[in-house]
Every structure is written in C-alpha cells, then in structure tokens.
C-alpha cells in the first residue's frame, strides 16, 4: 500500500471544505493535518478515503463529459470539467454514506474549520479500531487561528490575529463566491 499522497489529500480537502487550494495551503497546516489524519485513523482508511474521492471526481467528470469509464489519472481529472451537482451526489454516495469513510470525512471537515481533531465516534472505533492519536486534540498552536470557520464568517479568531481597533464595528467581509446569493 502506498502512503496517502499530499496532493490527493489537498484535492479532497478542497472538495470537502469548499475553500480554494491557495487558501488551504495559506493556512500553513495542510501537511500537519494530513499527518494528523493518518495518525488518528491509520493509512489504510486514509488511502481508502482518497481513492473514494478520486472515484467520485471521476464519476462527475465522466458523466459530465461522456468519456470512457476508465479511471482517469489525476492530471486528467484536474483538467476535466466537473459537474458540481454530480460530484456532490458522488461524494454522498461513495464517502458520506459509507460507515467507514463518512465519519472520517466529516472529521476532516471539522479539522479544517475548527483546527481540532475530534475523536471518532465509539461505534466507529469499535468496528475499525482505535489509534492512540485518535483522541480529541489540537493539532498545533496555530491551527485554532487558522481555522476556516473564521474566514467563513468573516471574523477573526477571538484573542488572536488582531483585526485592528474598532474593526469589529464594520460588517464582516465575505467573498462573493461564499455568499450563496445573499444580497449586499
């Protein structure tokens, strides 16, 4: 079994968080997060999750483009036009509804947004085994500050990343693409 690839983890994280790759790399935490997920769940589970993600992307690309059903390599996938609705459905089918992969994927989302690894539910560890590093824990001192939730709501992490005196009186700044059609 090959070790889970960083690029694949990044690609998974883009689809799970809806933040762009530059934002994720811009936290400086993508590598520590992959290391945390591997330590908490084991490489077998992480590899299966990344495979399922690739397969989901392939489904969305193939169905959208009508190409042959062979699993395209990553470079082809990156170039392919993805149907976002199809991708969403494929992710739900292949990852979120899966007893083994679903809870891990949900934890990866929480990891990016809150900067914390939350322990997997007991029914998961009963079935698939518990790792010593799987307990609820902070990844690094910086992960709280870099949590995507602060960017998502246009706020600063309380007590960190000072935004300037009086800035709290201004409306939050949220990029258009995340506003989901809200009026301004």
């Amino acid at each position: 079994m090959t070790a889970p690839s960083f690029e694949d983890f990044l690609s998974l994280s883009v689809d799970l968080t809806a933040f762009e790759e530059t934002v994720l790399l811009g936290t400086g935490l993508a590598r520590p997060y992959l290391a945390k997920v591997r330590a908490a769940c084991g490489d077998e589970v992480v590899t299966a999750l990344l495979d399922a993600h690739r397969a989901s992307r392939a489904d969305a690309a193939v169905d959208a483009g009508g190409h042959d059903r062979a699993l395209p390599d990553r470079a082809l996938l990156d170039r392919a036009l993805l149907d976002r609705a199809l991708l969403d459905r494929a992710l739900r089918h292949q990852i979120f509804s899966d007893d083994r992969l679903g809870p891990v994927a949900r934890n990866v989302i929480k990891l990016w947004y809150a900067g914390m690894w939350f322990a997997l539910p007991p029914e998961w560890t009963d079935c698939y085994g518990a790792q010593a590093a799987g307990e609820t824990s902070t990844v690094t001192a910086a992960s709280y500050q870099e949590g995507l939730l602060w960017r998502a709501i246009g706020a600063n992490p309380p007590g960190a990343k000072a935004p300037g005196y009086g800035s709290w009186a201004q409306p939050p700044r949220i990029e258009d693409r995340y506003l989901n059609g809200a009026t301004k």
Binding site: L25, K161, G164, P172, R173, D176
Partner: protein
C-alpha cells in the same frame, strides 16, 4: 561645497515627493523579510524588522506633514511611487539594489546598506555624479540632473539646508492648511511621536528625527531619545549580539541573539506576476493582493489630504494585508524548485486618489450589509 540644488518652494516640493517615495520604498522589502519568517520562530529578528518597518511608516507620515505644511500635495498613487523591485533607492544611491527577499544574510546586508550611516567623507561629496551604467535609476536629485546622494542621511541634510534657505527668502513658505496635518490623535504607537509641522522649526525637527532614527546621522549608535538607530538594529543580526549603551559600533556587548535562517519560507526573490502560472488561482491571489495594496495607498493619500481620520481605517487594512501576506508566503510557487509565493507589489494603474472606484484594501471581498 557643491551649490545647493534647492532654490525655491517647487524644488522643495519635488524633493519631498522623492522623500515620500523613498520612505515607502523600504517598506515592501522589510515586510517581505518579516512575513517570510515561520510564525513562533525567530523572535529576535522578527522584532527588529518589525520595529524598523513601523518607524518607516512614521517617517512617511512625517514627510507628508512637511509637504502639506509648505502647500504640497502628498500622492502615493502617482505612477512609479512604488518601485519595481529590484530597485535603486529613490534618493539616488546606486551602488546596490533593493530586492524583495526572504529573511537571509543577503537581506540583512541590504537593510544595512539602506540604513548605513550617512555622513559623506567630506562636505562636497554629498552629491555624486550618477554612474553612467545604463541601469535604471528611479530618481536622484530631482532638480540637479545626473546627481545622486551619498546616503539617505545626506539626502535629508540637503533638504534641511534647502528648507532653511527657502524659508529665509520666503516668509510665506509655511502657509499650508493646518487641517491637513496628521497629529498624534490620528497616528500613535507607530515608533515615536508624530510631529505636527507648522513652521521651519517643526519641519526641521521632523526631518532630523527621520534621519537620526534611520542611520544615526551625527548622533552615533543611539539617538537623542536613547533609541538605537536602524542601521545598528540590523547590525545586531549580522553580529549576533545586542548593543548596549557605551558600545563601540563594531563590537556590541549586550546579550547574544540568534537567527534561525532556515525557519523561513524561501519566497522567490523579487518575484513578478509573470512568474505565476497564467490564469492560476495563485496568480489571482497575488493580483488581488497588489490591488488591495494599491487601494491602501489611495486611502493613505486621502488621509494625507484632509481626512486624517481615515488612518484608523488604514490600520484595519494593514491587518488584512498582513493576513493576505501570510497566506501567500505559505503557498509554494509552481515551477520554482520549491520556492514560495509572495506579493509582487506591481500596483495596477487604475487606482486614482479616489478609492471609491477601487476595491477595498486587504482582499477582494466586500462587506456584507443587510
């Protein structure tokens, strides 16, 4: 001694425009080195660079005050105000260029050259002929063609002499609108007290303060307030030791200081937009940062032209620029052998002094109002 190159108010105004560009030109290089440092590491180096960068912002404001006091019009949006790096300093020193570099021995070497003690070997050596090297020199003496200055300190010495001379001939020199002055109620915690300029005496105090805080012209390692000059702050990083009062300039005797040169994002030196893959997400982020920086300079221009209260908003913008800077340096730059991204400070020309039409500084996102 060389004849003065400043003979009237217009000469003074052009010199002060160059001085503003000069004070600003040092800020992107200092910020690039500062933000290249991995967080929680290199606290000594980070602190030293941060203090100097913040004091340059005070100098920029002080020059704007002097310019306003004699009826000039500060403009940080004029084409060429932000140099294209690598750049020669706008005062005309042309034996070195300034790059946007990560923290490194080379960066500190350049910083020392920027802030080096300014006294020319003799009074008539202040103005030197610019080398005919064909290299672009951004500006030099704005009034004497082909002449440059020995150092930033000598550049300011020339302005101080010119100011005294023109003020003696022109009793109405300081007739600028006092409402344009940035006072301590608008600018504080910025590396020293801001000086409101209303006459020759306060103008000279402001300019001498800049020169003394920079390289310690005439005042040795420490200035009159007991503050270490910028040149010597940076020398500490080269010599690995802090200065204390009474030290010889070449032999600091304070506590040792260590720099972890490896705990740094190796950003590409003086990267340009063209280095970023065309159409990539990353190129878009760099472009957005540059645009936000341009909008920030437009905001400062309004602040220096009658709305000093806007400096409060500028502080928030600076924090947003900081976050954007940090995000960029953590991104690898594709195709550059593992080097990292950084702002390129190529400012789009669309930002006039009226930022109503420009995006908000800091990021392209806009405030949500309901």
């Amino acid at each position: 001694m060389t004849a003065s190159t400043i003979n009237n108010r217009d000469d003074l105004i052009s010199y002060l425009h160059v001085a503003m560009a000069l004070e600003h030109a040092t800020i992107p290089p200092y910020l690039t080195a500062y933000y290249s440092i991995h967080s929680t590491t290199n606290s000594d180096a980070a602190h030293i660079i941060r203090v100097v960068a913040v004091e340059e912002m005070l100098h920029l404001t002080l020059v704007a005050n002097v310019l306003n006091a004699i009826g000039g019009k500060p403009d940080l949006t004029r084409p060429g105000f932000v140099p294209s790096y690598p750049a020669y300093l706008p005062d005309g020193e042309n034996d070195f260029t300034v790059d946007l570099r990560p923290l490194s021995p080379e960066a500190v070497e350049t910083f020392c050259k920027i802030e080096r003690p300014g006294q020319a070997p003799s009074a008539d050596a202040r103005l030197l002929r610019t080398a005919d090297s064909g290299s672009p020199v951004l500006a030099f003496s704005p009034t004497a063609e082909g002449m440059r200055f020995y150092s930033i300190g000598e550049f300011y010495a020339e302005i101080l002499e010119g100011l005294e001379k023109v003020a003696a001939d022109d009793p109405k020199l300081f007739s600028g609108d006092p409402a344009l002055q940035v006072g301590p109620e608008y600018f504080y915690s910025g590396g020293g007290a801001v000086i409101v300029v209303s006459d020759l005496d306060s103008a000279c105090r402001a300019l001498r303060f800049i020169a003394a805080q920079g390289e310690g012209l005439d005042s040795g390692i420490y200035d009159a307030d007991g503050e270490l000059a910028h040149y010597y702050r940076f020398r500490q990083l080269q010599l690995g030791r802090y200065y204390q009062v009474g030290d010889d300039p070449d032999a600091p005797s304070g506590p040792p200081l260590s720099v972890a040169w490896d705990d740094v994002y190796q950003v590409k030196v003086s990267a340009r937009l063209a280095d970023y893959p065309a159409g990539s997400e990353l190129a878009g982020v760099v472009r957005d940062f540059n645009a936000a920086y341009g909008a920030f300079l437009a905001l400062l221009t309004r602040a220096f032209n009658g709305q000093p209260g806007l400096l409060q908003d500028a502080v928030c913008d600076m924090f947003r620029l900081r976050d954007g800077f940090n995000r960029l340096v953590r991104n690898p730059l594709p195709g550059s052998d593992g080097l990292h991204a950084a702002p390129t400070f190529e400012i789009p020309a669309v930002f006039g002094p009226d930022p109503e039409t420009a995006p908000a500084a800091g990021q392209s996102a806009q405030g949500v109002t309901r």
